[in-house]
Amino acid sequence: MKKYRLGEFEEVVILTIGVLYKEAYGVSIKKEIEARLSRSVSMGALHTALVRLEDKGYIKSFDGEATEERAGRPKKYFQITALGKKAMEYTKSTRDALWKDIPNVALHLKFS
């Protein structure tokens, strides 16, 4: 059953929003992901993911302040919604369940 659908990148983004808590907006999310996961994130990919998450109702946004650095454009801050939280938990629990059920042998074989 596809109750909650969260792609890999979407999951990363929503987790980062959670990490940044009140400071989550486009550039800060991008920098955070780049720093933590050491991978480069294009503006396009990030914003597409944000639009999709918002469409699914996992995050909500509100306008923030405008700075000179942003040429007078407002920041848009993101926050995880209750539905988003459920989706994250669901994803995590399914992953955990999967982790738990992997027999030790399967993993150990790799090192042998």
Binding site: G44, H47, T48, V51, R70, A71
Partner: protein, 864 residues
């Protein structure tokens, strides 16, 4: 001032253009923030590059704006449904579909044929590539107080134009066209030939198959048309073959051109020969006094026809000093066919017919569209439930309009496919009727574009009213079953029926009037006896020289009463003069007379009627300088006592010895031309031999006898004869053609009308089934019910008669203005047309009415 480094403007604008407005602001903010950071840490270039990459990578489905306000929904399924429902409806009501599709395709065939005809008319002469720059040199002369326009000009005119205004003209060519005898070895044919100066093939841009267009520069050369070359030489190479013209000139084939198509003025010209041949008997080529040549000119591309036309105006007068003060001008090729000259003005002549026929054609099409509208709305009650349900489910009005329009489109498309087939099949018949050679230009892309527009146009025209009408039903009323078509929906239908019948009645009246006019002209007293009269053209000199012997041989033959000669046939006046002077003539005006030389037997052969004086006679030597006038001429001259008057012409005095009754020699619709007869064949050489057969002779036998004698004198000339009564009948061909076309249209219009009426009547009868049943139970007779059901239609037709009669009366008055000899518009025509239309309509309606009246009331009342 603080200079703010900014990212590449082009890409910033590009971003703003494609980005969804909701996202644009903060994404742009993000972009700018990143940009400024990059600017600080890595420098402008790298920041710019990164910016561009970011902007380009943002072009993603989630971010770019949608095209319109909302996303388009896929409509194909709905259209499929429309077509399916439409198709099922067609199959369900076969009779109705037949009426609609049959009526539409019949009228579309008419529209298609007429379009082809109009196309052909409008593209006349466009075969010639220099169409825009070709003109005919013509003259306006002051005659009889008005201006008469002639195309015949003296031979030296072309040379004078070349000499004086050579820089304006590319080519100028004098031409003379007529029936000539062409012979190659034992093959002899009478063909139309054109003698011309060498530049004519170049002016006309003939398509050469062999040889060159310049071949006529050599006086011993001749150009043949492809078809003539084929019948003369078969598959042999025609170049340098020797052909003989009129048994006189031996010419060498210098080239072969493709046959000139039928919609060219020069159609039918089978050969072109140097014009010098006509002067090989020693006649001077610089004679300004004899006008018998057509001059065709091609002006230089940089010159304007109008300006050049004005320049040359005085050339003719300068040389002839003619009292009619001739003014030369150029008549551009574009006005040759569709315009004519009336008192010196080029006015639309044939063009009016083209318009008229076009209007009639669109009317016929319009009638079929009306049928479609009528039947669709009449059947509206049956479709009302469907409309109600569709609306209840959620269709908006526009969707229902689309549905009914697409149904109309379906019907029109089906009708059109029939049209294409029918048009292709009826084209040969139509070509015969119209005397044209029209073909469907399958490969013409413009035609296909027009066809598509046409189908869409007809669908919209026929479908829009029912579509808007049907789609306006209120679903609640319809589904509750309280819906009845109300008064207001019937009114437009009545208007449509009235319109239809008005058009048909006008067409019927027009047709009757055309035939009436033809009949009237046919009944006109001709003034001579054309029965058992044969004419033979004298093309070669052999019979001319031995005429007396030829005549005697003929007279010895059984069945031949008399033989005579003249310069013009009895069915035409080939020459005229405007320089006759008589006592009491107004010196300021010139009068035009037809001039015909005859021999003394002519009067006896054609059986003319001398009203005063006497016929020419061989026993009076003085008759060689005598005139016989017809009555019209005497009237024109204003002579009270014509006999014994002396008329001056060509420097001689001619005695008036007789007056004959008017003879219809030119158009039977025109007033008789004032004509003078003389026996001096030096003035007007003899061209025609007339042979009168005795009433009860075996024509075939006599003809073969004549041919035998003819061949004895001139074995190499083809024996061509014409029956004068047939030639005379040919004069009505144009009018009879109009009559035939008009009657075809009128018949079609009536059929389409009746189809519509039939359909309408059947629906009304069906609607009133219950009423008829109850009435029958209560004791109504068959006649009562028939009267009740037919009455409505009779009223409508009466109204349309009231509208149609004045319209047709005034348009017929206009049409009759074209004829000097015209019939009165008599009341019986209107009576016949009105009565006929009423009868046909009643018959159509009655069938349905009587069927409804005969129905068993038990059956009609039991249902439900």
């Amino acid at each position: 001032m603080k200079t703010q480094p900014s990212p590449p403007r082009l890409f910033l604008h590009f971003f703003r253009w494609y980005c969804h407005p909701k996202l644009a602001k903060h994404i742009e903010g993000d972009l700018m923030e990143v940009y400024h950071e990059q600017l600080r840490t890595k420098g402008k270039t790298k920041a710019d590059i990164q910016f561009v990459i970011d902007v380009l990578l943002l072009v993603r489905p989630g971010i770019i704006r949608s095209r319109g306000k909302y996303q388009a929904i896929n409509n194909t399924a709905m259209f499929k449904n429309y077509v399916k429902i439409g198709w099922r409806n067609l199959l369900k009501n076969k009779g109705y579909s037949f009426i609609n599709i049959g009526g539409l395709s019949a009228s579309m065939v008419v529209a298609a044929l007429i379009s082809l005809w109009i196309y052909d008319e409008l593209t006349t002469n466009k075969y010639h590539l220099n169409y825009e720059r070709i003109a005919q040199v013509m003259q306006h002369s002051a005659v009889n107080g008005g201006t008469v326009t002639f195309s015949s000009l003296p031979m030296p005119t072309s040379a004078a134009i070349r000499a004086e205004y050579g820089e304006d003209f590319k080519n100028v060519a004098s031409t003379w066209t007529g029936e000539q005898i062409v012979a190659y070895e034992d093959k002899v044919f009478t063909k139309i030939g054109c003698y011309s100066e060498s530049s004519l093939p170049e002016i006309l841009t003939l398509e050469m198959i062999h040889g060159t267009r310049t071949a006529l520069e050599d006086n011993s050369s001749i150009l043949l048309s492809e078809s003539l070359a084929k019948i003369l030489f078969g598959d042999l190479d025609p170049i340098s073959k020797q052909v003989k013209i009129n048994n006189t000139f031996t010419q060498q084939v210098g080239g072969v051109y493709k046959d000139i198509p039928k919609n060219s003025t020069f159609y039918g010209i089978a050969f072109m020969a140097p014009i010098r041949l006509l002067f090989s008997n020693g006649t001077a080529m610089d004679n300004w006094q004899s006008s018998s040549f057509q001059i065709i000119a091609e002006i230089n591309p940089k010159n304007d026809i109008k300006v050049t036309s004005y320049k040359i105006k005085d050339i003719l007068y300068k040389h002839t000093k003619d009292a009619t003060r001739p003014v030369l001008f150029l008549n551009p090729m574009s006005r040759w066919h569709l315009y004519e000259f009336k008192n010196g003005e080029s006015v639309s002549g044939r063009l009016q017919y083209v318009w008229l026929v076009g209007i009639i054609g669109s009317f016929v099409l319009f009638l079929a569209c009306i049928n479609f509208m009528n039947l669709s709305t009449a059947r509206s009650e049956k479709r009302a439930k469907e409309v109600g349900i569709r609306k209840a489910i959620g269709s908006v009005k526009m969707q229902l309009v689309t549905q009914f329009l697409s149904e109309a489109f379906l019907v029109v498309t089906i009708a059109f496919s029939f049209t294409v087939i029918l048009t292709a099949f009826s084209l040969p018949w139509f070509n015969e009727l119209s005397g044209k050679q029209v073909a469907i230009p399958w490969s013409n892309s413009a035609m296909w574009a027009i066809i598509v527009c046409f189908i869409v146009g007809v669908s919209v025209l026929a479908g829009s009213y029912p579509a808007f009408y049907l789609s306006s039903f209120k679903p609640i009323r319809v589904l509750k079953g309280t819906f009845k078509t109300d008064r207001f929906s019937v009114a437009p239908r009545k208007v449509l029926v009235v319109t239809q019948f008005t058009v048909s009645v006008v067409l019927i009246i027009g047709t009757l009037m055309v035939y009436n006019q033809i009949q009237y002209a046919k009944n006109r007293p001709v003034g001579y006896d054309r029965s058992s009269l044969i004419s033979i053209p004298l093309l070669t000199k052999e019979i001319q020289q031995q005429y007396d012997a030829f005549r005697h041989e003929l007279l010895r033959t059984n069945g031949i009463t008399n033989v005579s000669r003249s310069s013009s046939p009895t069915t035409g006046i080939w020459s005229s003069a405007d320089n006759l002077e008589w006592k009491g003539k107004d010196p300021n005006t010139q009068s035009l007379f037809g001039t015909i030389s005859i021999d003394p037997e002519f009067g006896d052969v054609v059986n003319w009627e001398i009203t005063a004086g006497r016929n020419f006679s061989n026993s009076f030597a003085s008759d060689s300088q005598a005139f016989i006038f017809n009555k019209a001429a005497i009237l024109q001259m204003g002579l009270k006592e014509p006999l014994g008057e002396s008329v001056t012409w060509h420097g001689k005095n001619w005695n008036v010895i007789g007056v004959v009754n008017d003879m219809v020699m030119t158009s039977p619709f025109a007033p008789t031309m004032p004509t003078v007869f003389l026996i001096d064949s030096k003035e007007r050489p003899f061209n025609i031999v007339h042979i009168k057969l005795s009433k009860n002779s075996d024509t075939r036998k006599v003809l073969s006898a004549i041919e035998e004698i003819f061949k004895k004198f001139t074995s190499t000339t083809p024996f061509n004869y014409k029956f004068v009564d047939q030639e005379y009948a040919m004069k009505f061909a144009g009018e009879e053609r109009i009559g035939k076309i008009a009657s075809a249209f009128a018949t079609l219009a009536i059929i389409i009308n009746c189809l519509g009426l039939y359909g309408l009547a059947s629906f009304i009868a069906e609607q009133r089934t219950k009423e008829v049943g109850i009435r029958k139970i209560l004791g109504a007779s068959l006649f009562n019910i028939w009267g009740m059901l037919s009455k409505d239609f009779v009223v409508l037709i009466a109204i349309s008669l009231i509208i149609a009669i004045p319209i047709s009366y005034y348009s017929l008055l206009q049409w009759l203005q074209n004829y000097d000899y015209r019939a009165e518009i008599s009341w019986w025509i209107f009576l016949a047309a009105g009565g006929g239309a009423l009868c046909i309509a009643l018959l159509t309606v009655s069938y349905q009415a009587i069927r409804a009246a005969l129905m068993n009331p038990v059956k009609s009342l039991r249902s439900e």
